[in-house]
Amino acid sequence: MTQETELLNVYIMGKSYQVPASLTIMNALEYAGYQLVRGCGCRAGFCGACATVYRIKGDYELKVGLACQTKVEPDMYLTQLPFFPAQKAEYNIRELKATAEQIAYYYPEIYRCIGCNACTKICPQDLKVMQYIGYAQRGQIDRCADESFDCVMCGLCASRCPALIVHYNVGILARRLYSRYLVPPAGHLQDRVTEIRSGKFDEDIAMLMTASADELKKRYNERDIEPE
């Protein structure tokens, strides 16, 4: 760290701290002396543990971001949202139908969407959240699965929803329904499982397991490689 690093002021849960301007919110919390326990997981934008709500002094608008992916700004009032008490339906994925009714059975509140689009505006992954809830309402499960795919389940959408929808739980139900019921299973995969059970490869494997080190090396170095 060079000495001349520019510092700026942030308010962590209302308290003022001077932190280097180049830091992420997560690094700023640590720089200020917090040993994070909640609100920190992958540190790389994949797990959704670090949802953060903030407002810049003088501005009324509430903003959000993933703490590990968002830079500090001057006079930022920030707090983390380490947990959101969202409802998740319990279901047996093997006994469902891939229909709008099925989703509505578990999450009837999706029809209470008032179209405010707050979920889409808040999504740190830039997903069209309201759109995918719309797909779920209309039983377009493939599109719902596709549109919700990059979701990190941080919970911010649900925290803003006036209709109390838990978008990310709808998203995962749609993805699981889509993958299990609407896409054909991979025939080659099932065939291979059957072949293995029938003992087709036992001999080949046994031979490799008992081969001498030199024999293995030779085979390895001479193995043919599928072209790109």
Binding site: R38, G41, A49, E90, R176, R192, L216
Partner: protein
């Protein structure tokens, strides 16, 4: 943070040589050259980076100092008063760790009729599993077979892998993927259901299956959802700090630590499965890491103290291209695909110094050599050094728009901090990526301690001295399921005796008898300390 004027100035040298480099061809290293660069520059070969252990079953074996410091440390429970009869939990199977291996183990154990408890230090799913982008290897295509896969795995591991474990890995792989498919994990497929699959480092067939570039996240989300659907008991922010044994020397539970209230609790169990993952956050030799916040090798410490054997702990996998700039994303994994598409590593003078597609260990070593030996690295404001990875080449080779289309996650990650990888190269340095070794297991995840199982990155032997990409997402499912099934079935016949911590006392005595200075160190670490640091 965009590139500073000094770095911008240096960038002109990269731009100046780009056309010439595009026309030239940089040869791959010959076998002898590879050996030399590895021997001289691979972090594993630095004699002074490791030391032989002075206590425990692996006495005499060399491990990195940072790990040795924790293995040769005292228990967190030394001055804690505990009543081991005061049971907070009394279950059949205790699963420790909420990544992919833990989730798979818990599901399979419950299917055997066992009463299962899953504990995890952070949130359920905050784990290395969720970060895996690349994919999972399975030999399910017509031109492939478990035997072909076997040869790749064992060659990749420099022929040091435990054969029975490689057999289990490769023969169970199709059933493991079929299980995930059946649970509704959204793998990338053709319209007729055929799985898409591509090559990965060290594969002889295109058997890398993926779920867009969120492969691990998709596996984790699905397994977690399934665990929640089956009313399986999960306790978050609850770390295991010590195993409990019974009079028979069998694993019989654990001491738990509430990460938020600081209280200790006792769990009794008939079988215990450690699935605590890797140790990138120990920052061996000061390297940045791609791993999640909780990757502090806790399972290795508590397992070893209870007498379980470690294997291959002297070999670590470094990923050649972790981000070296901007500082906010230090260590962030820059996928191999960037080099696959043609981006070359380039030094401060704009010269290429290694073929972009050498194996991970060779590529990493060549980057380290360029910086440490030849002094041709680029020093950033924070003191971090790296080399350029010339991403704009991709657009020239494959046409404009390629980067945006093929590497959307990467573009997003860098854009957030003001670096446009379409226009400008990235700065990279090798990062600690994967723990090749771990606690030694047999085919069903059993260890040398009765009723103690290990699964996932915490386990050792499957990958020998080097894991190939795509085989660890596979191993967490295969061995998570195997350990869960075996531990769940076995629990029915186990009678737990009186719980004790005598192994811990004995370990402390051994430390003292051998004159090991623990200098106030306690372990496991649970979380790294980053407070008051500037990055």
């Amino acid at each position: 943070m965009t590139y500073t004027p000094q770095l911008r100035e240096l960038l002109t040298r990269v731009e100046a040589t780009r056309n010439k480099r595009l026309q030239g061809y940089f040869p791959r290293l010959m076998a002898a050259e590879k050996e030399e660069v590895l021997r001289k520059f691979h972090p594993d070969y630095i004699e002074a980076s490791m030391r032989p252990l002075q206590v425990g079953v692996n006495t005499g074996d060399r491990v990195p100092h940072e790990l040795a410091d924790l293995l040769e440390a005292r228990s967190r429970l030394e001055n804690v008063r505990l009543d081991l009869e005061q049971l907070q939990y009394d279950v059949d199977v205790l699963v420790v760790g909420g990544g992919g291996a833990g989730a798979a183990a818990a599901l399979l154990a419950q299917e055997q009729g066992a009463n299962v408890l899953l504990l995890t230090k952070l949130r359920f799913g905050d784990a290395n599993t969720v970060m895996a982008q690349g994919g999972i290897q399975v030999a399910d295509k017509a031109n492939d077979s478990p035997a072909v896969h076997y040869l790749d795995v064992i060659g990749g591991g420099h022929f040091s892998n435990v054969p029975e474990l490689v057999r289990a890995l490769t023969m169970d792989a199709p059933a493991a993927l079929r299980w995930l498919e059946d649970l509704g994990a959204m793998f990338s497929k053709e319209d007729d259901g055929t799985m898409k699959s591509i090559h990965g480092g060290g594969t002889s067939r295109k058997r890398m299956h993926f779920a867009r570039d969120y492969s691990g996240a998709e596996i984790m989300r699905t397994l977690r959802d399934e665990v929640r659907n089956r009313s399986l008991r999960v306790v978050e922010f609850c770390a295991v700090v010590e195993l409990l044994l019974d009079e028979g020397g069998r694993a019989a539970g654990a001491v738990l630590y509430n990460m938020e209230t600081g209280e200790y609790e006792i769990a009794r169990a008939k079988t215990v499965i450690l699935a605590t993952g890797g140790s990138g956050r120990l920052h061996y030799q000061g390297f940045p890491t791609t791993n999640h916040y909780g990757a502090t090798g806790d399972g290795l410490i508590i397992g070893y103290r209870a007498g379980a054997r470690l294997a291959f702990m002297d070999t670590i996998q470094y990923h050649p291209t972790g981000a070296a700039f901007p500082p906010q994303i230090l260590g962030l994994l820059i996928t191999e695909k960037v080099r696959g598409l043609g981006a070359e590593p380039v030094n401060i003078d704009g010269e290429q110094f290694v073929h972009p597609l050498e194996t991970r260990d060779v590529e990493s070593s060549a980057i380290i050599r360029e910086i440490k030996d030849r002094g041709k690295g680029i020093v950033t404001e924070t003191g971090m050094v790296g080399v350029w990875l010339d991403s704009p080449m991709i657009e020239i080779i494959h046409g404009p728009g390629t980067i945006e289309r093929e590497l959307p996650a990467m573009v997003r990650q860098f854009n957030r901090f003001g670096v446009d990888i379409v226009r400008d190269p990235m700065l990279v340095y090798p990062a600690l990526h994967y723990q090749n070794g771990g606690l030694l297991i047999e085919e069903n995840g059993r260890t040398n301690i009765e009723n103690l199982y290990v699964a996932g990155e915490c386990a050792g032997g499957i990958h020998g001295r080097n894991r190939l990409m795509g085989n660890s997402l596979l191993d967490i499912v295969v061995f998570g399921c195997r350990a869960g099934r075996d531990a769940g079935a076995r629990a029915a016949g186990v009678r737990v005796g009186k719980l004790h911590l005598e192994h811990v006392t004995a370990y402390h005595r051994q430390l003292e008898a051998n004159g090991v200075l623990t200098a106030g160190r306690v372990a496991p670490l649970l979380l790294p300390r980053y407070t008051h640091r500037s990055r």
